[in-house]
Symmetry: C2
Subunit: 295 residues, 2 copies
């Protein structure tokens, strides 16, 4: 079992942190007709403002509204290091967060056109997304496979809403073989945005980090990771061709279908140092053709 003391922020499936109730017990009926009570994940609307401008309403489990707001705005390109964030005000009753900056920018033009990507990029113009990547250079740092196997093992045995309720995505910020910050939410992009918001808030460097996600490696996941300045993105799940192409263009190390001893690297293989002794890595049986076991 993972030692949760290693995490700076660990998942909190029982809602012990701050007394926030992340799941609710719901009455239902099972396959035999028996009455049951079962936990389901709570989602709440959170409206994000940038200064006086309403930007979006996101459905979220509600555990880190300030990080979600900061990270969302950052990953949409509406905040940068020059924005000079002066405050992040969360009103629990109104379910709103206002991010205040010293330098105000108006984003009405960005808000007019929407791109629905495979995961949803609300408020982002598609061309803007690709433009935002043009200046991105990711650091040439080694990524050891022994770290990846250690991370996968720790993350996959950490109690979380993902394991208990099955309606949620997790994204974990890691450093070498240590998971640091494990964020979850009903939408995978919320989880990534919360990580970005935490990094911005704490002034944490992305250069020596690895991002691990339970979700698919879509173009949007790749773009966000690159825009966050993180050089490697890892998932149990599969790829999309566009995500691979973008990863290759920006020089991101992209690893997917990571289960047991196996994984596939479709971009940035040059960072990988295959130092792991595979004999010491527990394998996972391949379940070809069975639903629920994505190839």
């Amino acid at each position: 079992m993972a030692d949760e003391a290693d995490y700076i922020i660990a998942p909190d499936p029982l809602g012990a942190r701050g007394g926030l109730r992340l799941t609710r017990s719901v009455a239902g009926v099972d396959h035999t007709g028996a009455q049951i009570e079962t936990p389901v994940v709570e989602e709440r609307p959170l409206t994000i403002y940038l200064n006086s401008q309403e930007i979006v309403t996101a459905m979220t489990i509600g555990d880190f509204p300030q990080y979600l707001a900061l990270g969302f705005l950052r990953n949409q390109g509406m905040l940068d290091d020059a924005s000079d964030v002066t405050g992040v005000d969360y009103d629990e009753e109104l379910e709103t967060v206002v991010v205040r900056t010293a330098n105000q920018t108006v984003f009405e033009d960005k808000l007019k056109k929407k791109t629905r990507t495979s995961g949803c990029a609300v408020g982002t113009v598609f061309g803007d997304m690709m433009e935002g990547l043009e200046g991105v250079t990711l650091p040439q740092v080694p990524v050891k496979t022994s770290w990846l196997y250690a991370l996968a093992h720790q993350i996959n045995t950490t109690p979380s809403l993902y394991l208990t309720s099955g309606a949620i995505h997790g994204t974990v910020l890691c450093q070498q073989d240590r998971p640091l910050v494990y964020m979850e939410d009903v939408g995978r992009h919320n989880a990534v945005d919360k990580v970005a918001g935490w990094m911005l808030s704490e002034g944490v460097s992305p250069s020596d980090k690895i991002l691990y996600t339970t979700g698919r490696l879509t173009s949007e996941m790749v773009i966000k990771t690159a825009m966050m300045g993180i050089p490697a993105l890892v998932s149990r799940s599969g790829f999309t061709a566009w995500g691979v192409e973008i990863a290759q263009q920006v020089g991101l190390t992209l690893i997917g279908r990571m289960r047991g001893q196996r994984f596939v690297c479709l971009a940035g293989n040059d960072r990988l140092v295959r130092d792991a002794d595979l004999a010491c890595v527990r394998d996972e049986p391949s379940k070809s053709g069975r639903k629920g076991a994505k190839q």
Copy 2:
């Protein structure tokens, strides 16, 4: 194995239909350092217009652009039976679809505010989503569990991109124990919208249908199913509390965590007829605590 002749529209992982290439072979490196070639799912941008108004750009696998456009607009409330669709023009080179109607409506106000739900509801005002459900009454039709087990078995053994590439969601329109139309896409909402577009195009009634999805039963999936007029929604995956609440409000039969013999019904149990002989239903071992096997 499922008899694909039973499907009106079956999945098409090899892209045989219309010569469309749904996956692309990509070169990469596996965990041992060996060079490999592996199929990954292609996503392409598709820009949807309603008459002269640009609505959204969706990333899609590109197999049914007309159904996607129709269904998206329908499920966003921008098309209804009174809209009188006069044409659906797909331009493959420009990657655009224009849906033309005799009765023109302007939706600029809807486009200004966005709601990012757990799955993404681009262009939909949150309040509008709930309002759109106010007039909805779903038919009180029986839903036999023998049908559900038969559907799950057929669907889970049908060759599809989901099984081969793991980066995609499937939604299947069913009638009793027969899967009719199996739509897939990188985003689960695209898959649902394509089903809606097909139904609109073919004039198919929703009253006696069941919707089966590989994705989570989020609030948005529930809302779309209800707006399509389909009385039952089934998934292998988990629930969210909001999705359950909406299902209870509109009287939708909501079944999740359906694996092997087991399932949980958290709304609309009154439609269920537990006629299945469970001894004849193959069970699936529970894999508590292991990642990849959501509870």
